[in-house]
């Protein structure tokens, strides 16, 4: 069948290009995840801090980034930040020619920012849902602040936030498809290029949909296992 030939690997088929695109997609998601988590945790920390300015900033940050279309955030980062960066560097040192601001960097930054704004809310929710008696128990055992955070609060936040973060991870994987619009050769753009050359949109778009679907289902399975494991001490008691 010629449809299968089009999806095959090698110089005639587009299978290898799609696979390369898939690697970029996964790389984007796996790089944006830790950055987003770190920023998200920081913003969540600010939102429960005693500093009024910190709380206001956290609210501003999460409202802004969760209110903007991801596509628009991506364009602002890609076109805006690149320009800004170059102007800044030119201003600092006029002898430096330009700095490269690649779509890949723009993609990671934009995806990480969007992820962090949602993650901050999830982590904040987990923090607030935690039983305050636990912290008091730690104080009663004369543990210091960092010991309490590391041994009592952190494990519970991870458990409480995991379902929410799991959903955000799936959203992140799907949002990577948007970078195709700024010509980053991810899975989606590989399909666009293949469609342009072969005029078989249905075949290629259906194929990439199935690939994304499969990855999401796999991730859901893994997340379910992780949740069960983290909850093993909890559900038994009920």
């Amino acid at each position: 069948m010629d449809n299968l030939a089009l999806l095959s690997f090698g110089s005639q088929g587009w299978g290898d290009e799609l696979l390369k695109g898939l690697c970029i997609t996964l790389l984007l998601a796996f790089l944006a995840l830790p950055i987003g988590l770190i920023i998200g945790t920081g913003v969540a920390g600010l939102s429960v801090s005693s500093s009024r300015f910190g709380r206001a900033f956290a609210t501003f940050y999460t409202t802004l980034l969760r209110g903007l279309p991801e596509l628009l955030t991506l364009f602002i980062i890609y076109h805006g930040l690149g320009l800004l960066l170059n102007q800044l560097i030119k201003w600092l040192n006029p002898d430096i020619k330009y700095v490269e601001f690649s779509p890949f960097a723009a993609g990671i930054i934009a995806l990480a920012l969007v992820f962090s704004s949602y993650a901050a809310e999830v982590i904040r929710g987990a923090w607030q849902a935690m039983d305050k008696g636990q912290k008091e128990a730690g104080i009663a055992l004369s543990m210091n602040r960092w010991l309490i955070f590391w041994f009592i609060e952190r494990p519970q936040i991870v458990r409480l936030a995991l379902p929410g973060l799991g959903n955000l991870w799936i959203n992140l994987l799907k949002d990577t498809a948007l970078v195709s619009v700024i010509a980053l050769d991810d899975l989606m753009r590989a399909a666009n290029i293949a469609v342009g050359a072969t005029k078989k949109p249905f075949l290629f778009y259906l194929s990439v949909c199935l690939v994304y679907w499969l990855i999401c289902i796999l991730c859901e399975r893994v997340l379910f296992k992780m949740e069960t494991r983290l909850n093993r001490g909890i559900s038994a008691g009920k």
């Binding site: 209110g67 279309p69 799991g166 778009y205």
Partner: protein, 241 residues
């Protein structure tokens, strides 16, 4: 900045109207479809449950932009067939394709939200209705659905916001919504401020919508206004709340 506003605001405003139209049409049609689907989804019978689960899983497991390309360019490939069925007139228009895709996508998410809400309805309320001898349709109309919709209300509001934002991808299939107009104006002027104006417009739409939705929510929960309401999120797919 002011200069940009006066020059481009009319075009962006045109786009914003299209964005609003597409979003509202999609989410309301999705709401109509989500009700029967969520009722199917909570049935014991596998034959009723599984097809719904499959549809939900597909639309939630694939990027919206991929779904849109599949429907838009995919349907173009089947033009002769669609013409025979008399459907080409519909598929020919990119706005229709966007609305159809977004409706299906939102339908999947809303069905999940409603399923959660239906399952969270207090069994005792249902039993009370049964004890009064209410038939099934009355039971649903007067007890189950009002309770479920009240629980689902905040999550449904989130879904509208997510559709408003997600709908920006319609610009890649030539729809001149707010995002489409923004990209066109930027490609002519290379003026980054255009994006900032568009961002402000999206934020304003979202904030106005959230405020209206909260008013409705307060209205729905007015009988509980003396109590402190602690609601649990129905879904973890959160937006502005």
């Amino acid at each position: 900045m002011l200069d940009v506003l006066t020059r481009f605001a009319p075009m962006l405003a045109d786009g914003a109207l299209i964005t609003l139209k597409i979003t509202l049409l999609s989410v309301s049609m999705a709401a109509l479809l989500a009700l029967p689907l969520s009722l199917m989804r909570i049935q014991e019978s596998r034959f009723l449950r599984w097809p719904v689960q499959l549809i939900i899983s597909f639309f939630r497991g694939t990027p919206l932009i991929a779904q849109l390309f599949l429907l838009y360019y995919g349907s173009g490939q089947f033009r002769p067939f669609l013409m025979e069925m008399g459907l080409w007139g519909f598929f020919r228009d990119p706005v229709n394709c966007a609305i159809l895709t977004f409706t299906m996508n939102s339908m999947a998410y809303q069905t999940e939200i409603l399923r959660g809400a239906l399952q969270s309805v207090d069994k005792r309320s249902v039993e009370a209705g049964k004890a009064m001898g209410m038939p099934m349709n009355l039971l649903y109309r007067h007890i189950v659905l009002p309770l479920a919709y009240r629980t689902a209300f905040p999550a449904l509001g989130n879904e509208v916001i997510l559709m408003l934002k997600g709908g920006a991808v319609a610009s890649v299939i030539t729809v001149m919504d707010l995002m489409g107009q923004t990209r066109r104006v930027f490609s002519q002027s290379f003026d980054i401020n255009v994006y900032l104006v568009a961002a402000a417009m999206y934020l304003i739409i979202a904030i106005v919508f959230v405020s209206i939705w909260r008013l409705f929510e307060r209205y729905l929960n007015r009988h509980q206004s003396h109590r402190v309401i602690r609601r649990k999120p129905i879904t973890n797919r959160t937006a502005l709340n």
